[in-house]
Amino acid sequence: MTDKLHIQTTINGEEVEFLAAPGQSLLAALRDDLGLTGSKEGCNNGNCGACNVILDGALVNACCVLAPEVNGKQLVTIEGVADGANLHPLQQAFLEHAALQCGICTPGFIVAAKALLEAEPNADEDRIRHWLAGNLCRCTGYDKIVRAVLDGADRMRAATAAS
């Protein structure tokens, strides 16, 4: 048995404690130990983006972060994107644009797009395509995903203007 580390972190606004082996990935901790299976494993080496989470405001692949690294940090996963019973504008846009087929890559795309648009609310198609190039989708050909993110950006700007 390896000596596990005691980790204290904040996930989706809630304080969370767990034990992590030194070499355990954040993705394994989220999925196997914390029951947060919305972050998906597609490759486990940082190539597909299905496990994208936001760590202290930065977009990361949870498979390439060690679980002990999140000690004392703020983490947002797909489970924390909706505001209670209200879907995030990006989630609503994905639904209305039929931007998912099998849906396995969808959490990663939504988390990645959220990270981009919170930092750059006016990102255009070119910027969105460059940002999302780390997220693989095999079903859609990306057309409807990019349109959903552009529409989601509109909705987010409108919500900001209204508030």
Partner: protein
């Protein structure tokens, strides 16, 4: 040639949000690897490092001695008591080898332990004694008499019973006299040899199965599969366990494209569960998915076309060799002989198809199996012909197009099909009418065909007292079919789409359903749904007849309303009146919609720019045209068209299994096996053509597959226009573009 007028539909043709959408955008949907059971162990599969080897022995004693290890299985465990491997030889040994491995990555043993890390550690402690054999990796080389033989007992079907071979079958298809027609005076001919590499479906979700095996023999398997019923059947076969004692619960499925039809982990998880007495989850990593599942064949195709000077194609000849990987199970070349010339009406045909084993993973279907590689050859030759004859490539296709009555791929005449309409829509499109200007740019076009299979489907429908209905189905939903089926039921029984609640259930809870494949769910399961809807109306009419004291035949149902004389009720009112106060009401609909039904056609237009310094091909503009029959949910039809095009773009430009001489795949990661990203594809324009399918009550055609057929050739044709060099081998990677264009310059 104008498409027939479409009836006015109320729900069909709208774009509602899919019923499972919220679960999938919030991370709540449970996919294969998301299953967690109390006390669950984790399983790991040990795989062969060699492409071809005899197994002399396996020693698992050190693994079993490791604390936390609860079970180890090998191929010997897959042979049921009282049976021999001869009963289920290839299916079983592909899941776990016994005496020989035929490809690198083939499973040889599996471990269950209290953690994934311990299981991984234990797998490394299993000692397998291999005798390494020479491997053969190229389909034409494997056909040569001197090639290393994979299966000592394999004989070509119908061939010499005394000659060992790697050729499983030689399919011959001939109509008329192609050689004579080709040799005719004034016949213009084009010919070439084309090669494609093995490629993978590339679904983002790796395979995952979780199983329990109770002391009474009841097995329950949660798995990501395109077909829970075939998974149950195949698991039953390799375990020698009755299907009544196996329940398969399909999880959400993260892509399949044909690659999740076969079983891999289901019996492995079940056997580990039996040996350990605990639930066991087994999942693959990405390298396992590439090396140990079912990619689609590499091919070698030699073809020749002959046409009159005014552009009538009179003869076609093709010799097509397809890999089947390490096992003689699949027959992709047989499909190739059916689909190669399906877009055209050609009087004289001669086709030879060869199915050949090589030391690579056992191949599986991949979206329109066999058709894209054939189209890569044929649609380039059609393009070459158009240039030689000085006829517009689309006009040449229109002139030779298959239509209703043309002899179809199975020898029977086509029913109403829409290839001409697709080509005409391409001719009329803004894309084709817009000039493409600038150096190193080119425009290509190509057509494509795939069947639309029917097969067996069964659903049940329960009326709730509030007038909503539950639709119980067994077709796993990969791309929005809960929506497209609920829409057909809503259309049939006259309720709102939102009042239909579809649920995909396990194998104990609904009648038999074949796989979600062959573009068949919206079509075939849709037929079962419409039948169930009609049965429901009949049952409710019967109940209303009692309540209204009129004969049942006097009750009519129209636009969602039951009526007889001056009495009338909406469906909702009728549900409240009958089920709300009387006994429950459940009906079913079951169909066998046949094997190869109807025809799906597509036509694509693509503009590319080729960088002369790097050889990189960039797709600038892309338009897909496809006959959907009737587009039930147009957004998901477009999604299938766009997704097929993107997969075809990847196949054309980047994707290939890259092997070293020893049969080791050198690129088994997404970094090195590069599927298209947002930067590799533009927005993909769609033009949906609707020529109703006479076989479906609403005219639906399957739309999943034709979209992957044209891109390989369309892009090759575009690259030719941009560079003046024909591309005979995929992928058209920067290296290959530079090699071929430099060779031309030199």
């Amino acid at each position: 040639m104008t498409a027939p007028e479409k009836p006015a539909y109320r729900v069909i043709g709208t774009r509602p949000v899919r019923p499972d959408g919220i679960d999938k955008v919030t991370g709540r949907a449970v996919y294969g690897a998301d299953v967690r059971l109390p006390g669950m162990l984790r399983g790991i599969v040990l795989r062969s490092p060699h492409a071809h080897a005899n197994i002399r022995g396996i020693d698992a004693s050190r693994a079993l001695a490791l604390p936390g290890v609860k079970a180890v299985i090998t191929g010997a465990d897959l042979v049921p008591p009282g049976k021999t491997l001869a009963d289920v030889p290839d299916l079983a040994s592909n899941l776990m080898a016994t005496t020989k491995v035929y490809y690198r990555g083939q499973a040889v043993a599996a471990v269950a332990a209290t953690s994934e890390e311990i299981a991984r550690q234990a797998a490394r402690l299993i000692e397998v004694d291999y005798e390494v054999l020479p491997a053969v990796l190229d389909v034409r080389e494997a056909m040569l008499p001197a090639a290393p033989i994979l299966h000592a007992g394999l004989r070509t079907r119908g061939g010499d019973p005394n000659t060992q071979t790697n050729i499983i079958a030689h399919h011959v298809m001939a109509v008329g006299d192609a050689e004579a027609a080709m040799a005719g005076a004034d016949i213009v001919t084009v010919e070439g040899e084309f090669k494609t590499s093995m490629v993978h479906q590339g679904y983002i979700e790796p395979h995952a199965s979780t199983a329990t095996w109770n002391p009474d023999g009841q097995i329950t398997i949660w798995t990501s599969t395109q077909g829970s019923f075939p998974a149950r059947q195949n698991t039953s076969a390799v375990l020698g366990h009755p299907i009544s004692k196996i329940k398969v619960i399909p999880t959400e499925i993260g892509g399949g494209f044909g690659g999740k039809i076969a079983i891999y982990l289901e019996p492995v998880a079940a056997l580990l569960a039996r040996k350990s007495g605990k639930p066991v989850k087994v999942q693959m990593d990405r390298a396992d998915v590439f090396e140990a599942t079912g990619p689609t064949p590499g091919t070698s195709i030699r073809a020749k076309l002959g046409a009159t000077k005014d552009g009538r194609i009179v003869a076609a000849i093709a010799d097509m060799a397809y890999e089947t990987g390490g096992y003689p199970i699949a027959t992709p070349a047989n499909y190739a002989t059916m689909v190669a010339f399906s877009c055209y009406d050609i009087e004289n045909l001669k086709m030879d198809g060869w199915d050949v084993v090589v030391n690579k993973p056992r191949t599986q279907d991949y979206r329109a199996p066999s058709s894209p590689a054939a189209a890569f050859a044929i649609e380039q030759l059609v393009d070459e012909l158009s240039e030689k004859l000085g006829i517009d490539p689309l006009a040449l296709r229109l002139k030779n197009s298959a239509r209703e009555g043309t002899r179809g791929p199975m020898g029977m005449p086509y029913r109403r099909i829409g290839h001409e309409e697709c080509v005409q829509a391409a001719l009329d499109s803004d894309h084709y009418r817009s000039p493409l200007e600038g150096a190193n740019k080119g425009r290509g076009v190509a057509s494509g065909f795939w069947f639309n299979v029917g097969l067996r489907s069964s659903v049940s429908v329960t009326v709730q007292p509030d007038g909503t209905v539950s639709l119980i189905e067994g077709s796993t939903d990969i791309g929005g079919t809960r929506a497209s089926l609920a829409m057909q039921l809503a259309e049939t029984i006259g309720v709102a789409y939102e009042d239909v609640k579809p649920t995909v259930v396990d194998t104990d809870s609904v009648g038999y359903n074949d796989v979600t494949a062959g573009s068949r769910v919206t079509f075939g399961t849709g037929m079962a749904v419409v039948e169930a809807g009609k049965n429901l109306i009949k049952e409710m009419s019967g109940r209303l007849a009692g309540a209204w004291s009129v004969p049942p035949e006097e009750i009519t149902f129209n636009a969602g309303t039951f009526s007889a004389g001056d009495k009338s009720m909406t469906f909702k009112q009728a549900a409240e009146a009958t089920v709300g106060r009387g006994p429950g009401l459940t009906v079913s609909g079951s169909v066998n919609a046949g094997f190869l039904q109807g025809g799906g056609f597509a036509h694509h237009i693509v503009d590319v720019e080729v960088d002369p310094e790097t050889g990189k091909v960039q797709v600038l503009r892309y338009t897909t045209v496809q006959d959907a029959g009737t587009a039930v949910h147009p957004a998901y039809v477009e999604g299938q068209m766009q997704g097929g095009a993107a997969q075809g773009i990847g196949w054309a430009l980047n994707e290939e299994y890259y092997y070293d001489d020893n049969g080791r795949m050198a690129n088994s990661t997404y970094l090195d096996y590069r599927i298209p990203t947002t930067l590799d594809v533009p927005m993909i324009d769609t033009i949906i053509v609707e020529v109703p399918n006479p076989l479906h009550p609403y005219g639906v055609r399957g739309v999943g597959e034709p979209g992957i057929v044209p891109p390989l050739a369309a892009i090759a044709n575009a690259v030719y226009r941009a560079t003046g060099v024909r591309q005979h081998q995929l992928p058209m990677s920067p290296r290959r573009i530079l090699e071929t264009t430099d060779a031309m310059k030199a």
